[in-house]
């Protein structure tokens, strides 16, 4: 088996690991009564789904900036767009992390 065939699976595994890590951080920061592993990476975090509100989002933003050195920016878009789902958040963090 050659390396190029393996390559596509590696980012997916890394993304999955980041999603689980973020899920753990969110559950701990917000004291949610949902096990981290049960959070559907594609379900909405805000409003429906996990039912997070804007103060929760701010709380997560703090945790994310501390852990990954990412300063979240809405830049005119909806504040909660980054938080559409765990997967969206993980993608944002992966693209902007400095640690």
């Amino acid at each position: 088996m050659s390396m190029p065939e393996l390559a596509p699976t590696l980012p997916a595994a890394a993304a999955g690991a980041l999603e689980s890590e973020l899920a753990e951080l969110i559950v701990a920061a917000l004291n949610l009564d949902v096990p981290a592993a049960q959070i559907d990476p594609q379900a909405r975090l805000y409003g429906e789904g996990l039912g997070l509100d804007s103060i929760d989002i701010l709380e997560i933003a703090l945790v994310v900036s501390k852990h990954y050195g990412v300063q979240l920016r809405a830049d005119g878009a909806e504040n909660t767009q980054i938080f559409r789902s765990l997967r969206d958040l993980a993608a944002y963090v992966a693209a902007h992390r400095t640690k």
Partner: protein, 375 residues
């Protein structure tokens, strides 16, 4: 007449429509509220001199609602004269200059935001930044784009978030905070990093702004002129000044002298989370209104202290054999503001009612005590 709903849940909109059948929504961006919408056009720029219209002081210009204990929101009529009298006094005390540029991190739909981001520019001629940034990096960016003097209208929760920003913060000439008391520590940190004074406002939906303190050096709050406080039947009443009528305050207040008082926290049934107020009775009423919920109650868990000003979370217990916790959460989301959604929500076979049918607070908290950690 303006109506200022505290949130846009379907239940709130339904109640709004039943209290004001001719309600419509004036908006510059289409939204999904279930009321007729009138789109406000972008006004053309004009060079012609424009006179600010004089408004009759006695006319009612806004109705603001507090949640009643029976489930029906209670409207409070605000007349222009008293509203603007109160805000002018605030502007005088805060020393907001007509040249100031204001930036608010709070929405205009509750009393603090309404007074400080809508009426304060009216009263002073200062400018309000159209943006309402959310993340610390966005707040800093918006502040930097404003001319000085800059005023930041915010809350302890937002300030705490801003203090975690790793880089230097832009200079701010005045920081105004309200909705929950600020610790001296956080106030000091904000003054140091923004290089400007922090002022805190105490008020309520019913009364508007009532008192102010320089949080770094003062514990006591100084009342607006003409307001008197009198303890009566377990709570403190405010009278006079800009108040429409004598009003019972929902907090534990200790008057010190004619002008100053100390604030010790809220009264037992009342809930103030992130500047949104409700009562356990109202929230419980909403829980019991969900079809399939046979018994239930909201309560404040006796949690270990959380780092202030992180908001507290309510808990709830319900008896609803045919429903899942997700069903109940979803139904509650349509009825109450999300900040009050219970965490945790316990489903039980019965509530720990005592022989008189009451729910002792200790018994409710005991339900939370031994929570096994899920693997």
């Amino acid at each position: 007449m303006s109506l200022l709903p505290p949130s846009h849940t379907p239940e709130v909109i339904r109640q709004l429509k039943s209290s004001a059948p001719d309600v419509f929504c004036l908006t510059d961006t289409p939204c999904d509220l279930d009321v007729p919408q009138v789109h406000y056009p972008q006004l053309p720029r004009t060079e012609r001199p424009w006179r600010v219209p004089a408004i009759d002081a006695a006319s009612t210009v806004a109705l603001v609602f507090t949640s009643g204990s029976t489930g029906v929101p209670v409207p409070h009529a605000k007349t222009w004269g008293r509203l603007i009298q109160c805000v002018r006094e605030g502007a005088r005390r805060l020393e907001v200059s007509p040249a100031a540029a204001l930036l608010a991190t709070v929405p205009a739909q509750h009393m603090y935001g309404f007074e400080s981001s809508v009426l304060l520019p009216f009263a002073t001629g200062s400018a309000l930044c159209a943006e309402r940034p959310f993340y610390p990096a966005d707040v800093c960016h918006a502040l930097e784009s404003l001319p000085r003097p800059r005023v930041l209208i915010t809350t302890p929760i937002h300030l705490r978030a801003l203090m975690t920003y790793p880089d230097a913060l832009p200079a701010v000439d005045l920081i105004v905070s309200a909705t929950s008391p600020l610790s001296q520590e956080l106030a000091q940190q904000a003054e140091t990093r923004f290089q400007g004074p922090v002022r805190e406002i105490y008020g309520s939906t019913e009364t508007g702004q009532l008192a102010l303190r320089a949080s770094v050096r003062e514990q006591a709050w100084r009342l607006w002129p003409g307001i008197t406080l009198t303890p009566e039947a377990g709570c403190v009443w405010a009278r006079g000044g800009h108040l429409e009528q004598p009003t019972a305050l929902c907090d534990q207040i200790e008057p010190l002298d004619a002008e100053r008082f100390l604030l010790h926290g809220r009264l037992a049934d009342l809930v103030n989370i992130a500047g949104k107020r409700s009562s356990l009775a109202y929230l419980t009423h909403q829980l019991l209104g969900i079809p399939g919920v046979r018994d239930g109650a909201f309560f404040f868990p006796d949690a270990e202290p959380v780092p202030e000003p992180q908001r507290a979370r309510l808990a709830a217990a319900a008896v609803a054999p045919e429903l899942s916790a997700a069903d109940i959460r979803s139904a509650l989301r349509g009825r109450i503001d999300p900040v009050f959604l219970p965490r945790p929500l316990l489903l039980l076979e019965r509530l720990p009612r005592n022989s008189t049918g009451k729910l002792p607070h200790e018994a409710l908290c005991a339900l939370l005590a031994p929570r096994p950690q899920l693997p």
